[in-house]
């Protein structure tokens, strides 16, 4: 047995390697990015598994399905909102008769540290009628990932691992077990089991429904632990909530009964036994009141059920040891009083010298006094929404900038601009651009091309800047209204003139402003120097 110090994300990745992983896919997104990063580094050193970034979460998921069709083990990693993008293949894949284990790791971000929403992946797993495991620490993240592959193969369903930011980015010691080899390739023989034609799909759906009681039988015995103690209070902890409960439990005047949930479908039998034993139930869960709602339902429950939905815990934000402490009825410990000085907030901002600054200055200059509406998208450039730029009017989800600018233009707004990064464009911006090109919508799309996925640490974009022009022409962009421009403080003036002209054009224009993210450019330079030093 070996000991490693790992982030929750890394523990998942190593667990997958030791489970005989053949291939892994994902699109970078905080807090899930380190999973695939770890696997890519592992592959560079050991020649396996195959690990790669993909254009988006849906393509990642579909590639993983192919690996499973080949009878081999595969992992897909994404952040919670990424699962919305991959929802189509994800939900459908639960109906398939999966061969090689398929594990979907989704890192939720309750508290929205770096996300547009704080949705809870347990609902998605429930919706797909599949298994979901929720680790509480790095060790469990490792162990559960290994287990998830076995369960996926045993029940022929995709197995979900739900992480939250706090676990994904928490470092702890992990003891690892014996590594298992990869599955030999064994492509599925039964075509009908992989083909969701209505007649087959109905059959497969019945099969999945019939398997539900097997899944429930499994989670009533595994992954969940019930200890009946005092009958005044039953505490239900889910995943990482157990840590915050344990942090405070010693201070309670009595030992409550306790059910810890680490595996779903909901362990209904255990919940019933707990509820029958206690006067009141307190549900501690990060994210939505998933278990609490199941317990309370619509009818008045026979016992009092407290949780996020009743105000025992705040309805939003991530759990902390302190909100759990208050929910348990314990007094907060006093720290020093806050400083008398007013403390200004310090929002994140574009790095000094960032190419997006020049792009925003170009846009601001070109649209001055025009009353333009500018839709933005998701990436470093979203920071253009904040002062000193205050340059954009919206940011909703990956790719939405282009679709929304089309909607603005269709609704008669002039001028309508969309700002999107290269990687986001490839992720989800191409299809709405096809719509806009097909309709020759009077709008201007600005693709801020910094060659990487910068916000998550500089992962490569799916295709390099040099191929962007050909791609856009291939989509049907009008070559007379397509400009590839270097962006730099010195070119702001000239670029603004070109942009201004294109804004006046009564059809669709696409402007690509190109300069590499200075963070990755700096890293690359450092690497080159180090290499030169090593060979000198």
């Amino acid at each position: 047995m070996n000991e490693h110090v790992l982030l929750g994300d890394e523990a998942v990745a190593l667990g997958a390697v030791h489970a005989g992983l053949t291939a892994a896919y994902g699109y970078p997104g905080t807090p899930s990015t380190e999973i695939v990063e770890f696997l890519i580094r592992h592959a560079e050193r050991h020649g396996r598994p195959l690990a790669s970034w993909t254009t988006n979460e849906k393509t990642a998921y579909e590639a993983a399905l192919g690996v499973s069709l080949a009878g081999r083990r595969t992992l897909v990693a994404m952040k919670h909102v990424g699962l919305n993008v991959a929802a189509d293949p994800f939900i459908n894949s639960a109906l398939l008769d999966l061969g090689g284990g398929l594990v979907v790791v989704v890192a939720d971000d309750p508290g929205m540290h770096s996300s547009q929403n704080g949705q809870d992946t347990r609902f998605y797993a429930d919706f797909a009628r599949t298994l979901c495991l929720e680790p509480a620490n790095a060790q469990e993240a490792y162990d559960m990932t290994r287990e998830a592959f076995d369960l996926s193969e045993r029940f022929h369903v995709p197995a979900v691992i739900r992480l939250v930011t706090r676990l994904a980015h928490s470092r702890g010691v992990v003891r690892t077990g014996e590594a298992r080899g990869q599955n030999p390739p064994r492509p599925a023989a039964d075509r009908a089991a992989w083909t969701l034609l209505p007649s087959y799909a109905r059959e497969l759906w019945r099969g999945l429904l019939e398997r539900q009681h097997e899944l429930r039988a499994y989670t009533s015995r595994h992954g969940n632990t019930l200890s009946l103690a005092d009958s005044r209070l039953g505490v239900v902890t889910c995943g990482i909530a157990r840590n915050y409960y344990e942090e405070n439990a010693d201070d309670l005047p009595f030992l409550p009964s306790h059910l810890h949930i680490g595996a779903y479908p909901m362990p209904v039998d255990l919940l019933r036994r707990l509820v029958a034993h206690v006067d009141a139930v307190l549900v501690l869960e990060d994210g939505y009141p998933f278990v609490q709602r199941a317990l309370g339902g619509v009818l008045t429950p026979p016992r009092e059920v407290r949780g996020r939905q009743t105000g025992a815990l705040p309805p939003d934000g991530e759990l902390t040891p302190d909100v759990v402490r208050v929910a348990l009825g314990l007094p907060l410990r006093a720290g020093l009083p806050p400083a008398a000085l007013a403390l200004p907030t310090r929002p994140p901002q574009l790095c000094a010298g960032c190419p997006h600054i020049d792009t925003f200055n170009t846009i601001l200059k070109a649209t001055r006094d025009l009353g333009a509406r500018v839709t933005s998208d998701i990436g470093c450039y979203t920071l253009g929404a904040l002062p000193p730029y205050s340059a954009v009017d919206s940011c909703v989800c990956m790719g939405a900038s282009i679709g929304m600018a089309k909607g603005l233009a269709d609704a008669g707004v002039r001028p309508a601009l969309a700002v999107i990064g290269d990687s986001t464009f490839l992720h989800s911006g191409i299809t709405p651009l096809v719509d806009a090109i097909a309709a020759n919508t009077p709008m201007t799309v600005v693709i801020a091309d910094n060659e990487v996925v910068a916000m998550t640490g500089g992962q490569p974009s799916a295709i390099p800047s040099s191929r962007m022009k050909r791609l856009l022409l291939g989509l049907g962009a009008d070559p007379d209204h397509l400009h590839i421009l270097d962006t730099h403080p010195k070119t702001v003036e000239r670029n603004a003139e070109i942009l201004r002209r294109e804004i006046d054009h009564p059809g669709l224009s696409v402007i690509v402003t190109v300069r590499e993210c200075i963070e990755t450019a700096r890293d690359r330079k450092r690497m080159r120097l180090a290499m030169a030093g090593a060979t000198a």
Binding site: A339, P344, Q349, T456
Partner: protein, 190 residues
């Protein structure tokens, strides 16, 4: 034994490597450690907060509870003031005096420093100046570790070993600079 640290700073200041060195030393001394970090958007020049917990028995919560931190370690004076409620009444504060003024409404530095000096058990070090004297401003987080080292429940040579290990891949000169900066901070705080 239980020792909780709140580490504060601004994205890009090296708060995580500071946390990493102390965590590694705690682990070498056989303590249980949990270290919770911030990644992603928050790192772009925004306020950064990391939690480091070490104890003689398993650590439960990944986050430091209010009123429990034995130490607040901050790379930036203003950032340190944000987390006072986490500091135990007997806790100490170690902070660098060099401000990061990437916001318009940064309060007058003297008032920030005065507020810090008025707190019990506050240690101020000019991390950047000490690091520059040691050979490189890039080592500005080392004087902070040095200034905190007498407070930490860790042996000096364990910390030194972990610093050396951290920079070993960058060559002996970098190790020496960081070690010098570490000791400069330790002396400044003594």
């Amino acid at each position: 034994m239980k020792y909780d640290i709140i580490l504060a700073g601004v994205g890009g200041q090296g708060v995580l490597s500071l946390s990493g060195i102390i965590a590694a030393a705690a682990m070498q001394e056989g303590l249980s450690v949990k270290q919770s970090e911030v990644h992603g958007m928050s790192q772009r020049g925004g306020a950064v907060l990391a939690n480091l917990r070490m104890a003689g028995r398993p650590v439960a919560s990944d986050l430091v509870p209010l009123g429990c931190a034995s130490l607040i370690l901050s790379m930036e004076p203003l950032e340190r003031l944000r987390y006072l409620r986490y500091l135990s009444p007997s806790g100490a504060l170690v902070t660098s005096t060099e401000p990061v003024r990437n916001i318009d409404d940064y309060p007058e530095l003297e008032r920030v420093l005065e507020t810090i000096r008025s707190l019990p058990r506050a240690v101020l070090v000019d991390g950047e100046r000490l690091a520059r004297k040691a050979g490189s401003a890039r080592a500005a987080n080392m004087p902070l570790v040095g200034a905190a080292s007498a407070l930490l429940p860790l042996k000096l040579d364990t910390l030194e070993r972990c610093i050396a290990a951290r920079f070993a891949s960058k060559g002996q000169a970098v190790v020496d600079t960081n070690m010098k900066a570490f000791h400069a901070g330790r002396e400044a705080a003594a």
